[in-house]
Every structure is written in C-alpha cells, then in structure tokens.
Amino acid sequence: MPHINYQDKEISFKIVYYGPGMSGKTTNLMYIHSALDKERTGEIVILDTQEERTLFFDFFPLELGRIEGYSVRFNMYTVPGQVFYEASRRLILEGADGVVFVADSQKSRLEENIESFTMLQKSLSGFGVDWTRFPLVLQYNKRDLSDLLPLGTLEGQLGLNGLPIFEAVAVEGRGVMETIRTASRQVIEKFQL
C-alpha cells in the first residue's frame, strides 16, 4: 500500500532491491540513478562499508510525474545482502509495494540465493503480505561470468513458475532498465485501495 497524502495529492510507492550479498543490488540502483534524467531523481544515498557492502540501505527518490492531479513518486531502496543484517533487511522491506530479487547467477551462489529468497518470503508473510500475489521480479545478474545457473533453476527450486525473469549484467547496465520497468509496471497494475 503506497503512502498517500490526500491533502497535498502525493503518492509514494516503495520498491526494494533484495538478494544475497554482493549480488549487484546497489549496482542496479546506481545504474538506474545515473541513466535517468537528473530532474526526475533526487540525490542517491549510499550507506556502505569499506568493502563496498551495503551497511543499512541505499536510496533515491524518482519522480514519475503528475497523474490525475497526483504527484507520483517511486522511492527506490536496496537492502544489505549479508545474512547477519536480517533485522535491517526486514525493516527496509516493511511497507514495500514491490520487490526486485537480484540473484547472483554463479552456480556456487545457488545456496545463498535460495537462503535469501526464503528470508524474503518469510518477511513478507510476517507483514501479512500474500507474496504469491505481490509485485515481484527476478533478475539473474552477472550473466557475463562463467559457470552460470541455467535460467529456471531458482524458479524451479523455489516454486516460482510464472515469475517475470530477466538476465542482467548490472555493471554494464544490461537488463537493468528492463527489470525495473517490469517491476514498476507490476506495482502500478496491482495497486488498489
């Protein structure tokens, strides 16, 4: 449910990039921020450690425009991926209107992907969200590396058939805009009061 200010006619949706550590969530966000017109986006906030790992969250606001008299904004967040930041992740996920799950495509990371997705399901269920109807997009990132998980692996193992999936190389921007476009469309299509 987006945050709606009826008096000032403003609607804010929250989109969260979720996934295991170092899967490329911040890279996705930074690419989107750099690719969009500057008048649409606010400053990007990156809170990371010296090892380039997200500590708390990354964030930037994106002004979609004025629709039917309402000013519509997407607030874009990433969560920290490492397992021990579960409490922070849950906090940032709260109130999300849609999620992009950024998976690390390397075969060696299969277990971390599954563990992360299981935590996502658990958190969403904890918020009372029916995650099977929730706006969710799966991105297989790092498709430029070798020894990759075949597409369909995660959906098969997690019972996610029908979920929109995208291949990406976020450092080069490949697949990044397609992913966010589909996630944003789902958020709007499933939006109801």
Partner: protein, 157 residues
C-alpha cells in the same frame, strides 16, 4: 461530502508554532516508510527527502534494539552533536517528528514543545482518514497513464 480542509495545513501550522516557540532550526513530520509529510522552519541546508528515509531507518533500527531489551519501542531518540542536535519522537504510532536545534540548553523546552505538538498532530491525524472519493486514484485511467510514464522513463537505449 468533502473532507474538511484540515490535515497537512494544520500540521504545518503546529510545526511552525513549535519552531517559533522553542527557537529550533527545523521541524519535520515523516512517515515510518521514510516519506517527508510536512516541514517547517529552515530546510535550505537539508536534503529533506534523504533525511526522511534515513531517520525512518534509524527509528526502525532503534525499535528492534528496544525489543531486544524487552521494550515495545523507544518513543524518543536524541542525537547530540557539537553544534546541532536532533530530537525525534514517535507520533500517532506511525509518524516521526524530527526537530533539529542548535542550543542544547533548550533541550527541556524542545522536549516540552515536542510533546505538546505531538499530541496536537496526533489529534489532526486521527481526523484525517481517507476522504470519500479517494478510491478514484486507482482508476484504469490513472494506471494507464502511470504505465505509459514508466515505459517512457525506463526505456532502453
């Protein structure tokens, strides 16, 4: 029937009164989702959008810490700096009032005015439920226009 013209204007007035009475620099009301609802005082030095997101995250983290020690939540957060300080209080269970001030000796006054303003804002929010006709936002036209905008903004080159 239209919703009475109360709400954000009233809240801004309450925050403006707080700024005036307690001599603080800035007062903001933000949602727990990290969205700035309204602001008063000087905001020229501040990225209020980022501030709202960060404070909401900070408050949420503090709530987890409170739970760890057996409290439901801590209702006030105080950050003391060298020259500027921040007082954050929970309002109406889901909003946070952020006050930035410079003279730390005024902390008593800030807390007193924050409590009074928090109660006043809470009363306003209790009257500000969804207006009739609000469902009109999620119309097919709204969605169609939003989807067109999304396709345009996120187009691949």
């Amino acid at each position: 029937m239209n919703q009475p013209k109360e709400g954000k204007g009233d809240i801004r007035q309450i925050l403006s009164d707080l700024v005036e009475k307690s001599g603080v620099l800035t007062a903001m009301l933000i949602s727990k989702e990290g969205v700035s609802i309204t602001e008063a005082g000087d905001t020229s030095y501040l990225n209020t959008t980022a501030m709202a997101a960060l404070v909401a995250g900070m408050f949420s983290a503090t709530r987890e810490v409170a739970r760890m020690v057996g409290e439901k939540q801590f209702s006030i957060l105080l950050q003391q700096g060298e020259n500027r300080h921040i007082h954050i209080s929970l309002v109406h269970d889901s909003k946070m009032m952020v006050i930035v001030f410079e003279d730390y000796q005024r902390i008593g006054l800030v807390r007193h005015e924050a409590r009074k303003s928090g109660e006043a804002i809470s009363n306003v929010l209790a009257r500000c439920d969804k207006p009739e006709g609000a469902e009109e936002i999620a119309t097919p036209q709204f969605k169609e226009y939003a989807l067109n905008l999304i396709d345009r903004i996120f187009q691949t080159k």
